[in-house]
Amino acid sequence: MIKQICKNLISALAIIVGVHLILFIALQSPTFGDPIARETQSSNDRALLASAAQRLGLIADINFAAFNLTVHANESETFILTMDSFFRLHHSNGQAIIETAVPATLGELVADLNNNPLITATINDGFAMTSSDEIALVYFGNKVTLSAEQPYHAAVLHPVSSPQRFFNSLTSLLSFDFGNDRNSRPISNTLWQRGLRSLAIAAPSFFIIFIGAFLLAVSAHGRKRLSRNLNAAAILCMSLPALLYIFIIRQTFVINLEWAPLRPYGDPVLPLFILPILITVFVGIWPEYLLMRSFIDHRMRKPFIQAARAQGIGEQRIWLRHLLPNLAGPLSQHVALNLPFLVLGSLLLETIFNIPGLGISIVEAIQNHDSNMLRAITFVVAIAFLVMQAAATLVGRYFDPRQRSEGHI
């Protein structure tokens, strides 16, 4: 038993690591562009860039006081300093007069500057022997205009390796430290409030769908004509896009007939949820109905049901005593596995009905490059999925003695 629990915990942790790896690659690597530029909104400010790099975990520490580089120009023209893959000092007419590979030792840099007849450089501190893998000039590719005798700050910094960054990021997520969003507001608060709103629509919808689909499937069982009509309705309704329903229903009931309220989200909130819930139910009930139908039909054909009938047991008793217990396991697993995705909310519904839930947060987070928010939402849903999966397994084992005895998970 304990061995099994440990095994399950390890596999859950492995999945968490896997989810985090996907998020790390998608959101914290250069896939979405330079994370520092994103964080600082393309600032040229050196100190800001360096502290952003530190905050993002890209560098461990910075020592700005390491040395102080002063460039003296012999002419009264401006020089433009750029750093791409080289440290380049341009004259104002664009001609490059210095190119030094970065990182360079301080000595190499100063030597290059001193070798140029136009400019001289002085160092205020004796760090000429610092090793090249520690020196990096903190410009991050931005162009900076130097004027004559501009004191210029460089830094010694220690980059953090990607595996270390991955580990740091994972541990902060595991401790539910999601940090702040783009507007510097704590994400945990936002997640909680918005999650509740999405859940306020999704949870009632789901249970109405579940119960409604079940009752429809029960009604349709054994009634050929009704079954045929419902199947046709289900297939037809599933074929039309959800957007169509949302557009038409909203236009009809909110705009034209004014039967449902038109106002942004605010108290009282309950009337604002009714139409989205009804739309979610209408869109979602059909695939659930078809699933229930297949569950019921499949079990109704089993020998034990036929045997019960042959023994003269009434239809009601067959349903309650023989069928439902058999359905309970797979149905509750199905519910448990789908529940975590409820918190996501419907992106389309929330966008069109202006409900500030998690769905709309995702859209905003993607558009604003709010990687912290995306990480947080995805992580929370993934954790919920794992918890529910474990719960579903336990429920399944409870209802299905075969799983218990074989020790399956």
Partner: protein, 242 residues
Amino acid sequence: MRFSRLVAGLYIAVALVAASGAIPVEINNDFYRGNTSVWQSAAHGAKVALIIGSIAASTALLIGSVLGFISAWYGGLIATIILWMATSIAAIPGILLVLILSYGMGGGISAVFFSVGLVSWVGVYRLVHAEVLNLRNQGHVESASSLGASVPLIAIRHILPCLKPILAAQFVLHFMYAVKAETVLSFLGVGVHQQASWGRMLADAWAFGDLSNGNYTRIIVASLCLAGLMLTLQSHIYGRQK
């Protein structure tokens, strides 16, 4: 079934004609406002839907079946790693991952089908894995293996034919998912650009206030085209199940 094949054929024909450039769409302001070229856009939408659906489904099938076969055939560590990848992807809501990937790739038609393909392979993998585990012990496969046939040969000559029904059903399912995903992505602005699609028609209808202006044509045409394709595909699955 015959009727659905006819309809499917019609979609393919329209898509091919659109791809050949024989259905011009005049890009002007009336077009964006949904006053002109609605049917022409719908025709181009068929082309886009078929491209997205087939490439996304093919990608999902290719990745899923290759990985499913490898993990079932070889087992051990590699199977564990593949299972780990699949479960991790499955733990993230599909639409969220598709959104993130599609946005990361900059939107556009290729972003849509690759992101859907990269997310959908998990379902294929699970089915193929289970089926190959089953088939591995079948007589014809064991014989081929003992006769020294190479693994790729066994996969293609002996296992793939048995997987065809599953793969065909999965192809259709993921095709449908990809086409539906395109409507959501286009509505959110990370879908198809620089060409007409059914998703874009719906997105433009909302953005340009078709309903407020009493113009229902664009929405109805796009929805009917989508529904027609979905019905055709669903009846294909349903027909096969029968």
